[in-house]
């Protein structure tokens, strides 16, 4: 079940640099006057960063499908909570 394919350190450093780059981008876009598009852009970048960390540093890429489901299921649970609660708050 667990992976024995060891990720080469080079990959970790590459991921690290990408994350720092994305950090710079996200901070930069925060100051661009994009109006309503600002929030989706910031969130998209943070989702990408999170995906990078989970796939590479947390070895999800080579993990058993069950582990992938467990990794994602928390986000779905909160998604349901936010979406249905907002559906109430916004249509009140």
């Amino acid at each position: 079940m667990t992976n024995h394919t060891y990720t080469r350190p080079r990959v970790y450093v590459l991921v690290w640099l990408t994350l720092l780059a994305l950090l710079a981008v996200t901070v930069a876009t925060a100051f661009l006057p994009l109006g309503w598009a600002n929030t989706p852009v910031n969130l998209a970048i943070s989702v990408t960063q999170a995906a990078l960390v989970m796939l590479f540093s947390m070895h999800l890429r080579a993990a058993h499908p069950l582990v992938k489901i467990i990794a994602v299921i928390g986000f779905f649970g909160i998604g349901i909570l936010i979406i249905l609660s907002l559906f109430d708050v916004l249509t009140r």
């Binding site: 079940m1 069950l66 299921i73 928390g74 649970g77 349901i80 909570l81 249905l84 609660s85 559906f87 109430d88 708050v89 249509t91 009140r92």
Partner: protein, 538 residues
Amino acid sequence: MNSTAIATHESYLSSGWNWWSWLSTLDHKRIGIMYTVSITLLFGIGGAAAAMIRLDLLTPHSQLVSIETYNKLFTVHGVIMVWFFLIPSIPATLGNFLLPMMIGARDLAFPRLNLLSWYLFVGGAVFTIYALLNGGADTGWTFYAPYSTTYTSSQVFAVATGVFIAGFSSILTGLNFVVTVHAMRAPGMTWFRLPLFIWSMYATSLILVLATPVLAMTLMLMVFERTFGIGVFDPALGGDPLLFQHLFWFYSHPAVYIMVVPAMGVASEIISCFTRNSVFGYRFMAFAILAIAAFGFLVWGHHMFVSGQSAYAGTVFSLLTFLVSVPSAIKVFNWTATLYKGQVSFEAPMLYALGFIGLFTIGGLTGLFLASLGLDVQLHDTYFVVAHFHYIMVGGAVMAFFGGIHFWWPKITGRMYPEGWARFSAILTFIGFNLTFFPQFIVGYLGMPRRYPEYAPEFQVWNVFSSAGASLLVFGYVLPLIYLLWSLRYGERALNNPWNAKGLEWETASPPPSENFHATPVVTEEAYAYARAESPHG
């Protein structure tokens, strides 16, 4: 294993009887027993509160206790029965004891974590009982803001801390069960050869793991708001009390499935054994359990139809609630169909299981009344709702829990319970239960609100019926305690498989050795392969 051989060898019980051998055990069976003892004591406290409530409600004016005390009584009854009895009842006792044995494992995946779960549970109970002794909370088990956060000075902090700690016990037990079912099944035990009790433990554990953290953080937000006087639920600061209800019910509706799904698993085991028949539509039953666990997370808004939630959101939640009740309906029909062309016998566990089907069916059907938007306006927060969830939780979960205790008692203790007394108490519980809670449906539609120590005089006749029924129900619960303890010493010695039941747990000694099986069993046949096996008692 010849079923007539009497177990005389070294069992998990005889490996030490001093305090330390119990308090430091890593054996899932001993931890299961420690849970059983703890929740029995807590059931006593919750039951005593219920008895005082029923006595106080005999008269329209609250004469037994003051109305402030009454509010604390139903809070104690709610908190203890929900978090310290019902949620742990089947998973922590029967689940802990039987799950490893039924899948052919030596123990759970993380024994130390399992012992930690018990200590967390007891720690949580200590906080709650401390609060009870120091005046208790008076917010009801629902802790609705802004009353719980701003307007009450009762022991909300201590009770919330107790439930918070006990929540971690639930999470860790759930984690333990999910990993064990995935990683430690015996050779040949494929997913669709798993007994339905294991399916129910698996689905319950998924809900335990995915819902309980939400409760923990919601209680933490509530307690912080109470302590620092500021929070997102405080209407004075622009916060939204309905946000607390959303977060609370996002946990609490899946929690009611935590309480009833294990009972479904136990019922399937008992019914298939005492009808000598494989469960009708095994795969449908397994998928129905998973569907209940999954859809259970989408429907919490039906607790808030009249709470100020928008009509559109209420409509969506009403539709989703109707969808989640279909799997439960399927299960009831499948249990009934299991009796078809079987060899039906009526030992005590079977009486409890049949009682479970009857009461769970009534509970489920009245849930449909409440899911209908139009009707819920009249029924919400009345005794109709009280009767509905007692039919499901007490009629369903507790009947199945007692059925399971009786069914696996020979395996757990190596002793047989007295059959006559057990059948009598099963029937007495069924009758007492109906007398107690059916009148509440009627007084509910009449409009009698919940949590009322002082009620309008015309509701009194139904409350007297209900209290009378409760006095019968008390015996239904006390009797098993007596004769089961009696059976520990004087009960007839049990065979390894007294019911000739299918399942790996019956293929080892009663009571089983510490390592469950001398050799890891290999599974070759399907689940419930009763097909014409000889009936109980040979």
